[in-house]
């Protein structure tokens, strides 16, 4: 089955900077924004962009991700001649088999999958970004510019540019230099880690890179610089709109808070739905003593306490007299009567028992941070979890 473009979604990383939240699950399946998991964004973008074949490369803790993606039906990614495929590392005849040793190696190991669709172009995506993007528009530019690779870039401030991979452009508008986290940035165009490659070209570079013993088998470190060095045409696709990398606790919390402001990212737009595999539960119930202000709440929740500036996922329960402020509560989290949760992320099915206090308001010091509790934790009655704390599953608190 010939396809113009298929997508390969890199979802194998641990996301180690999310600590307790990715102890047992891969980063793309971390709950986000109430109803979603992070991977819903690239999957929905694919479906909305008319890309109906997506290979999801998994490696770290894939169990939950596999069952979440299933047959792809919630994203309409279940056509007869394509769909979403989970691609774990595998063993070949006569070989020991190996883990994916880098982003480029992960694609290299799945050349067989890609060839089955004989695509002209391959879209490479990450599983840790929150954004709405029409990949078909990027693909159109990629084809018009006859590029070997088109890299999606975002304009950032010069100060921020030092934290990103920066694309420097030549006079013809094509990329002529790529600098990873430059101290003295020459441009403000940051790579978003989203690439469209001409498949024939990419295949060549992947095979060459695989045979280079000194390569770290990474798109940013090896493939892109090698293409530039060989004089290939690399086109920058300028993306305008909301885009966040949610690879750290602070950025994950920030992006969740952004969900309270529809002018930043509008999830209510019926022409670009973000879909998810959601549990079946009744509408949320606001009790006699509920106070819900500037917050998002979803199905299965029961709120009897005070909730402000917060994001509640399905089946969250807030007891009477409890206070939840500037916090992200993941599915099934419980805040019992009189407990306080502020500036915190509370993991799936974690229970904050009555009288416990999780997190604290910013005090202006550098030591301050968002308090994080992983999944399936009991925060005992009367316990105090300080700001910036990281509580792992299995810890006694």
């Amino acid at each position: 089955m010939k396809k113009n473009c298929i997508a390969m979604l890199l979802a194998g990383g641990q996301g180690s900077r999310l600590y307790a939240l990715t102890q047992k699950v891969a980063k793309p399946s971390v709950p986000f924004g109430g109803k979603y998991r992070i991977i819903d964004f690239p999957l929905s973008n694919c479906a909305n962009s008319g890309i109906d074949t997506v290979g999801v490369l998994t490696q770290y803790r894939p169990l939950q991700l596999n069952s979440y993606i299933g047959n792809g039906q919630p994203w309409d990614l279940d056509p007869a001649d394509g769909g979403v495929y989970i691609l774990p590392p595998y063993q070949s005849a006569g070989e020991k088999g190996s883990w994916f040793s880098g982003t480029a190696n992960a694609i290299y190991q799945n050349i067989g999958f890609i060839e089955a669709y004989d695509p002209d172009n391959v879209l490479i995506l990450s599983g840790d970004h929150i954004y709405k993007m029409d990949y078909s528009d990027m693909l159109r530019e990629h084809i018009e510019r006859e590029a070997a690779c088109t890299i999606s870039v975002l304009q950032v401030s010069m100060e921020e540019a030092t934290r990103f991979g920066i694309m420097n452009l030549g006079e013809d508008g094509y990329v002529n230099q790529f600098e990873e986290k430059p101290k003295q940035p020459k441009s403000d165009l940051a790579s978003m880690g989203i690439y469209i490659f001409n498949w024939k070209k990419l295949r060549e570079y992947l095979i060459a890179d695989e045979n280079d013993p000194n390569s770290s088998k990474d798109f940013g470190k090896n493939i892109i610089p090698n293409m530039l060095a060989a004089g290939e045409k690399l086109w920058p696709y300028r993306f305008k709109g909301y885009w966040r990398d949610v690879g750290t606790i602070t950025s994950l919390w920030d992006a969740n808070m952004d969900m309270l402001s529809p002018d930043l990212i509008n999830l209510y737009d019926p022409s670009w739905p973000i879909s998810s595999r959601s549990p079946v539960c009744p509408p949320h119930y606001a009790g006699e003593s509920a106070e819900i202000i500037h917050s998002i709440v979803t199905e299965g929740c029961e709120v009897n306490g005070h909730v402000e500036n917060s994001v509640l996922s399905p089946n969250v329960i807030i007891g009477q007299g409890a206070t939840v402020n500037y916090s992200v509560l993941m599915p099934g989290a419980v805040v019992e009567n009189g407990a306080i949760v502020e500036y915190a992320i509370v993991g799936e099915n974690t229970v904050v028992h009555s009288g416990a206090h999780v997190g604290a308001a910013p005090d202006g010091t550098d030591a301050w941070g968002v308090a994080t509790c992983g999944p399936d934790i009991e925060i005992r009655s009367g316990a105090a979890v300080p700001s910036g704390a990281m509580i792992y599953t299995g810890e006694e608190v």
């Binding site: 924004g33 959601s278 009744p282 509408p283 949320h284 006699e288 819900i292 202000i293 917050s295 709440v297």
Partner: protein
């Protein structure tokens, strides 16, 4: 349960539902923020492992078809068996009115019933608001050797209903028609587990005698001829929705935690067609008390004792008490609504005041702007 086949009656016109059934059957009436009444019968069957189900419908079924689709939401989109929608196909040509009774509805799809491969049938009303755990009565039916097991309520419903009087042998000895208030007998939920052969015999007999009513003709004759009928009492919430008053009361009952637990137990979820995946946003001045709110709403005003369906917008300063706002309803700034049932896609302009009362809630028909 491989030897059970489900039949759901979704043809009921229920004129007492007035404007709520202008363009839909009682079974497709929106309920509790995100459901349709028929979701309860379908989910009860699904949760008991019954995946082969026929839905008997007659007219105004566009919204029902739209809601049910392939039956995928209830795992009933199967290669073998699964869900079948059954419009009339066995009626004589001169028949143009509504089905006169359940037996007539069954005879209109008699070829379907005859071809059912399973030995037992489970019959449920599409407009019965109840999450019935069907496994216990199914097991009981197989064990007892009764030809019919009647599913009954554990309380006397306020509306008129039939009752079964049970004899000392534990079997039904008498049916009492159209009762209200206190009295002997178990109130029927009009749900049955019945041997396929028994039902076919009843259908044939009634057809030969020009009779239409399941209860007044078929069941009465069955009992008179000494047929074995057992009963099973469903412990929990159950109300047949046949009037605006019953619909309003059942909706408000869902605000009570006890009833909600009975209707939405975690181990027997009520499944429904999937909708858009957006949370509900509460604004800076929002007030929400004792209310059920579905997803994809924007609540900027105040709601108290309300059921708000998905896609509703309650603007700043609007005040709603004791209201049901169905899908896509828009209540403008400073509007004041009390005891109002707003059907889908109604809108109320800023400052509108509309007050019904608990005995007579105001029904605003679908799509009306005020």
């Amino acid at each position: 349960m491989k030897d059970f086949h489900g039949i759901i009656f979704a043809y009921s016109a229920a004129p007492e539902l007035r404007d709520l059934v202008g363009a839909r059957t009682a079974a497709s009436l929106p309920f509790c923020g995100r459901y349709r009444l028929i979701d309860f019968a379908l989910s009860s069957m699904r949760n008991a492992g019954i995946l082969d189900v026929g839905i008997i419908m007659q007219r105004d079924y566009q919204s029902l078809l739209d809601h049910i689709g392939s039956g995928k939401a209830w795992d009933m989109s199967r290669r073998t068996g699964g869900l079948r929608m059954l419009p009339p196909f066995g009626l004589p040509e001169y028949h143009t009115g509504n089905y006169t009774g359940t037996i007539e509805a069954l005879n209109a799809v008699a070829t379907y019933i005859r071809d059912i491969p399973q030995k037992y049938l489970v019959l449920l009303l599409g407009n019965m608001c109840a999450n019935i755990d069907l496994l216990p009565p199914m097991r009981q039916h197989r064990r007892s050797g009764a030809e019919i097991t009647a599913i009954c309520a554990d309380h006397n419903p306020p509306d008129s209903h039939h009752r079964y009087v049970v004899g000392e042998d534990g079997l039904v000895k008498q049916i009492l028609f159209d009762r209200t208030g206190e009295g002997e007998g178990l109130p029927s939920l009009e749900g049955y587990i019945i041997n396929k052969d028994t039902l076919l015999k009843m259908m044939d007999q009634c057809k030969a005698r020009n009779q239409y009513s399941f209860h007044k003709n078929a069941v009465a004759a069955f009992l008179a001829e000494g047929g074995k009928m057992d009963t099973y009492v469903h412990p929990g919430y159950a109300v047949a929705i046949r009037s605006v008053e019953a619909y309003y009361q059942a909706s408000m009952d869902m605000l009570k935690t006890e009833y909600r637990r009975q209707m939405f137990p975690a181990d027997r979820p009520v499944r429904t067609k999937a909708h858009e995946e957006v949370s509900t946003y509460y604004g800076e001045a929002a007030v929400s008390r004792n209310s059920l709110v579905a997803d994809n709403c924007k609540i900027e005003g105040s709601i108290e004792n309300c059921i708000i369906f998905s896609g509703a917008r309650i603007e700043k300063g609007a005040r709603l008490r004791n209201c049901i706002v169905m899908r896509g309803g828009i209540v403008g700034a400073n509007a004041d609504l009390d005891y109002v049932i707003a059907d889908k896609y109604c809108s109320f302009s800023a400052g509108t005041v509309l007050t019904g009362n608990s005995r007579l809630p105001i029904v605003v028909p679908k799509g009306v702007s005020i």
